[in-house]
């Protein structure tokens, strides 16, 4: 199939989840990195870059969660999950919620026009990065990146 052929997109099934997942992971990790740098260097520009990266990361979780759940319902007919698949599902949902929580903390500060972001966001962001990384690792393990071909 040609990569720009509409059939490739339609018939890719859960492969869409595997492709889309890279967007929130990359945007969130870079967003957190910018936020830590903004805190350290006290630069508004870095804080703004962090905010917009976190915003797009949060939006990108929506199609990712949807395609993941659809893959479970269509490919596995919604059967009761266990083991790595269950861990991946639970950690994926927790990751998405944490990404939204982090963005909402930033959003709240902006709406209130407060100068300083709350300090408690930093440990939340650090924990979120760890959980996102672990979820991605499990997903990579499941998708067979270590397998032949």
């Amino acid at each position: 199939m040609h990569p720009f052929d509409i059939k490739t997109v339609v018939f890719a099934k859960h492969a869409q989840h595997v492709v889309l997942i890279h967007f929130p992971i990359a945007l969130f990790i870079i967003g957190v990195l910018f936020d830590f740098l903004a805190q350290w260097k006290t630069q508004r520009l870095l804080a703004a870059a962090a905010y917009y990266n976190l915003l797009v990361a949060a939006i990108a979780t929506i199609p990712v969660v949807l395609t993941g759940i659809l893959a479970w319902q269509w490919e596995l007919e919604g059967q009761k999950l266990k083991g790595i698949l269950l861990m991946h599902l639970v950690m994926g949902c927790v990751s998405s919620v944490l990404i939204w929580v982090v963005w909402l903390i930033h959003r709240r500060t902006r709406r209130k026009q407060e100068e300083v972001l709350p300090g408690y966001r930093l440990p939340i962001e650090a924990v979120a990065v760890v959980i996102v990384t672990l979820t991605g690792h499990l997903g990579g393990f499941l998708s067979g990146v270590n397998g032949p071909g």
């Binding site: 698949l85 393990f141 499941l142 067979g144 397998g147 071909g149």
Partner: protein, 118 residues
């Protein structure tokens, strides 16, 4: 002279044995003695082994997941479909009609195999 002949014979046997072993991994034809018995397909390292299995009508094929990753066994023509198989879990299906049954893993669609029922 006799010694060199026996070494050559041993080498030939080794080469033939290795070749036979190698081809046996890709496809397998059940012998007459194995008729109506259970044949096994091993799932390991993201592949089905043997990839192609030829069996007589009435044979029960059992897939065993020897991989660390969950897999499924799904017939392309929707003839059979397993649940998610974790490590060491099995799925069996008895082939009562002759034909070719291609199948794949729905979690890893690149993993494919085929059962030929004669």
């Amino acid at each position: 002279m006799r010694r060199s002949v026996s070494i050559a014979g041993l080498a030939a046997a080794l080469v033939l044995g290795t070749l036979g072993f190698g081809t046996g991994q890709k496809s397998y034809v059940a012998s007459a003695q194995e008729k109506t018995s259970t044949m096994e397909v091993k799932i390991d390292n993201f592949s089905f082994g043997p990839v192609e299995l030829t069996v007589p009508v009435g044979t029960t094929v059992t897939w065993t997941n020897r991989d660390d990753i969950p897999h499924t066994v799904v017939s392309t023509d929707k003839v059979f479909k397993s649940k998610v198989l974790d490590t060491d879990e099995k799925f069996s299906y008895t082939f009562s009609k002759a034909g070719t049954y291609p199948y794949f893993c729905s979690i890893h669609p690149k993993m494919t195999g085929k059962v030929i029922v004669q």
